[in-house]
Symmetry: D2
Subunit: 383 residues, 4 copies
């Protein structure tokens, strides 16, 4: 089942790493480490395969994929030999990475985006195209009445004043073009009532938000541990030091606040109360594409005894996020094929701030993911 993967932010580190990794894995020169669908528990499912994916996307940046790949190799994020091995195929993707349409009203822009999606699908005779947002985090948009009603939104988009943030305009355009949409960032994306209505109208599924690749992933297994052992978490404080473009962006107080809230949510949801402490995000250019997180947890045992735990996570964001992009494209494509409409809560395993009323403990999300993958896999087909 041929699936297009249309990446908003297609020239960024995560996007290009996911392209290189998919190409290298299907060429048999790399292991699919980090690809959840390739783990023993899931790889037997008849889902679209890594070989069924065709890449394209939009970006405001103009750096070529080849140059980005070289920069990733230089930074030690992908091996130089792998980049050399896939350079021809990567260059072939270049023609499908377009500048983000602009000018005119937001309605005009949405039509132009949708036209790009349609053309991509046609050009490669794809069964379907999944749009995935991996661009940098936006600040939360000011509230607007058009966000709550699809008809009001349609009218408002035709006016000169913009009403949707870029991530939501992309979701709107994706739905116009009949494409599922997934938001890997904490941005607004499809998370507006008017867009939910559009997705239902077009019979499309969508997923998000905010890929869970480090500190929050760890929290989503440690917090349930404390809860199950009935230990009382008194405080949970964290600091995240991020380099890269995302770090610089998140160091901005507005984006920081949104992200930090999203990162503490797992505690309240799994512990049933909110311990003291905050999560900080600081930019540290020197770390490049890596991030280092340190968390301190103080907790109380029997008869009030004070105890403590610390952890340090030193991870490469692209190496952790890129394989999940491939998983999300494959699962969302299968969900679309299977007729799933609306928010895909069963993708909570992948996200810090998942859509819907869903469990926040990783183990529960894992079980939901297993059931979901089974339900959307094609029962009688080899993939």
């Amino acid at each position: 089942m041929s699936t297009g993967v249309w990446l908003i932010g297609a020239r960024g580190s995560v996007a290009v790493t996911s392209m290189i990794g998919a190409l290298a894995t299907r060429a048999g020169i790399a292991e699919p480490t980090g690809c959840v669908l390739e783990s023993p528990a899931l790889r037997h499912h008849a889902l679209p395969g890594l070989g069924d994916l065709t890449f394209g996307g939009h970006d405001v940046c103009v750096l070529t994929l080849a140059k980005k790949a070289a920069a990733l190799a230089e930074a030690g994020i992908v091996p130089a030999a792998v980049v050399r091995a896939v350079e021809d195929e990567l260059a072939a993707i270049e023609a499908d990475v377009l500048p983000l349409p602009e000018g005119g009203t937001q309605a005009d822009t949405a039509l132009a985006i949708a036209a790009d999606l349609d053309a991509f699908r046609e050009r490669h005779s794809l069964d379907r195209v999944v749009v995935i947002n991996v661009s940098t985090t936006e600040p939360a948009p000011p509230p607007h009445p058009a966000h709550h009603d699809l008809d009001v939104l349609r009218d408002a988009l035709a006016c000169p004043e913009p009403v949707l943030p870029a991530s939501s305009l992309a979701a709107y355009a994706a739905f116009l073009a009949g494409c599922p949409y997934v938001d890997f960032t904490p941005s607004t994306g499809a998370r507006l009532p008017a867009l939910a209505a559009l997705a239902r109208e077009r019979g499309l599924p969508y997923g998000g938000h905010d890929g869970k690749t480090g500190e929050t992933l760890v929290k989503s297994v440690l917090a349930p541990m404390f809860a199950q052992r009935h230990l009382k978490v008194r405080s949970w404080s964290g600091v995240n030091l991020l380099g890269g473009g995302d770090g610089a962006n998140l160091a901005h107080p507005d984006a920081n606040a949104a992200k930090a809230r999203s990162k503490q949510r797992v505690l309240a949801e799994t512990l049933g109360y909110t311990p003291q402490g905050d999560t900080r995000i600081d930019y540290l250019e020197e770390l490049g594409d890596f991030k280092t997180a340190w968390d301190l947890v103080t907790f109380e045992g029997f008869l009030g005894t004070s105890m403590r735990m610390e952890f340090t996570w030193h991870g490469c964001d692209s190496a952790l996020a890129a394989p999940l992009i491939l998983d999300l494209a494959r699962l969302t494509s299968a969900a679309h094929r299977a007729g799933r409409v609306g928010e895909l809560g069963e993708l909570a395993f992948f996200f810090k701030d998942p859509l819907g009323e869903v469990p926040h403990a990783l183990a529960d999300q894992w079980r939901e993911l297993l059931a979901f993958a089974a339900s959307v896999a094609q029962p009688d087909a080899s993939r």
Copy 2:
């Protein structure tokens, strides 16, 4: 349902903390923090309550419970005010803490132990008595043919040469007296075919081994996280610094080796392969009843990128273990009432080295525990 809790090692830190905690909690002057059965997910079950427990036990040590309690308060493990509040009830337990029988053949000793158990049950009109081993860790015993056959064992016990280590003799005596047996230590206990046969013959359940209270607990949630994300763990190294009597004992190379093996088992079982690295146990007197563990995990993501995680756990062994003793007494008593016979694999949640073919991921153990608690709870009774 009145339940006796007979502790082998009744004058040790874990045992006395569990007594003080049970007394304080039922007096309403302490929260049942750390008691798994008192967590929101489990506390509605009709299991024997904290108020239904009566304590007794054996110990080779002669320090009074009152003096041990004072030492625990001095060390900051239990609040001095709590000790004062329960001192009369604690003193009342003193009469039920007996010296460990000795002299004669092991058959004689077993009969003497069983007689103590019978007398305890009679004296307090208990419905049943659960024997729990919380004494210090033994080295693994040399193999002996009597371990494999109950009849051979019975004959051998009557000879002057000892054939069973102390923990197994205690299990044998418990079964003679019709009592379930739980081993909270890594010692052999009931883990011999001859003793399993005896438990079946007498219709008794048993559980173990090696309470999971720190580093291994954390491993049992982190290792599944890496597996579910299909990240490859290259190495997992740990060091455990322990004070207290257990630390001194485990620093002995034989006990150390057994314990260290038990602590790495969770990795192979949940990852499906064994990463490089060892777990060390070192004695550090100054830590007292606390232990500090440090673990380094190196792992590989997409396209081979190297990443790493470290954690430090600083926990008080007694404060973590004592409430689990109460949980195990209550659950095992309920299992006995419900007619369960043989090894209780569903107690794997509590143990580093659980009996039976059971899951090693904490989340899976938790689900098994929930089902087990429901199945052994009295359906139509308020507890």
Copy 3:
């Protein structure tokens, strides 16, 4: 040589711990751990002894010393037995802890403070009184012309509008009363040209600022290590989690900024350049009088190889600061006796943000301290 120690903030944790510790140490029931002047390298000097100190002070708070001592014992900062042993002597200090004068112009307040100092000296027939500020950190005051000229300042103090922050008014009053002044906080204190002029006029020494008790202390030995090995520090990021009153106060952005700047100064001074990274201060009530700091240092070796170091410091602020208060009182008293006037740069060993052009590497500060102690010790007297 009898020395009065007049503490601004005499009812706070640091002040009361220093009183309890001095009383307990001279009673022989506690070791002078943490008292630098009692270390083997310094204890032979003929400086005022712990037994020569008499305590008094000002505070806006009204909690009795006895109640504060009980709270410190409850929090595990001082042993309850020690508090009981010195309770009579502590109660005797109560009469010398006065409310901070207020009302009228700042000139009036200064005279009232100075009168309290004179009365204290007379009452106890003290050779001299050292004023030490251990109250909470102030925000930096707005600039004012009176700060730069003593005559202008004298006129301005007589006006209804306040021109000096509380710490500087205390320094002014101390100098009026002929007392040396030490600032253990990052507040302004004597660090104004007009006050320096007054100190010179009266022939008085003064010291500060900001007691070095944790993360910065560690930085002051690690940063020189990197410099001496000619390793290039790329980034140095830190987070400080503080409970207690000081934590709540420092979490305020203004105080935070001042403190954080003071904490990074040691890097530029000892490395010769400023690496990337910031120091954060966050309030975490649960930590009480303890603070936990985590620092990440990334550095570069031969041929650009990236390396890293992390440290966690978990210290009790009062237990670290209180003995230094005693050291500073003794050294400053001796300096006064020896005729030293103006800023005491040789006390840099004790401070994050020392006065004067002084070394910032701890080892260099230590050598200056050794020389200073020798120079102000009474050559021919037993202390």
Copy 4:
């Protein structure tokens, strides 16, 4: 002043990194980061320069320097571009790296080694040659009477039975050839009375032992900090995880014990007492040329308050050791020129287990190094 650097273990990681680094630095394509003599405090001294060094050595291994350099680049220890830039000069060194002489008596071997040294000096018209041992750590040799007396040693070397370990035989041969000797490993080297006598007889200086590049370096600044603050260190425990050949070798219990003792020595020497705790060395292949050390320090402040500090060091052994080899060659050459004879205690700054009665605090070693460099620099010459 032309100086030969003769490396025992010339094909190992440290040796080859030092060659590449010296070549790259003098070609101006790399910074001398990590070279102590190039730091601002020392670089003005008229010592032999990086450009004055000529490399050669012995090794039992036959891997070419070019292949070793490629492996170092592959492992990320030296940049591939740097290796390419110096490949011709590195190849030119190949002719001076000889197999270690063997066969015959140890006297024969020593003569053969000395002949190689003489030929190297002649071939390149060198003013002097410094022999530096960077081969793998030996177990401590069994005691032998010949170790204590030079005449007895000379006789014993002529017998068929070996009496000296390899490192000591190398030192003996170096002295025969009139070359100073430095031991960068914990092996015995020149640390035998008979060899000290030979060095004196020939008027030669020597230095060692055991390059200080990680955990012990940090200890040598933290331990003095605790001592100067008069804080009582209760325990200091450490674990070192090492990959590479050195790790495999040190994991052997005998080598491990020697190294671990050497690593704790700094504590007793700087604190004045020995705290509880041990230092462990474990082999972890996956770390390659990197090592990760974790240390836990528990300490006591005023009135017995318990506090703690942890640090993690993640360093690349070659990147830390290689520049120190260059420093040691330059300093020892200058010492020889200046007529220094016998053990060079002033090189303690570089070593875990320095020769002589020397300070163990890094700051004191640094001051001695500054004075030493000044004393052996050529006063009236540009270098």
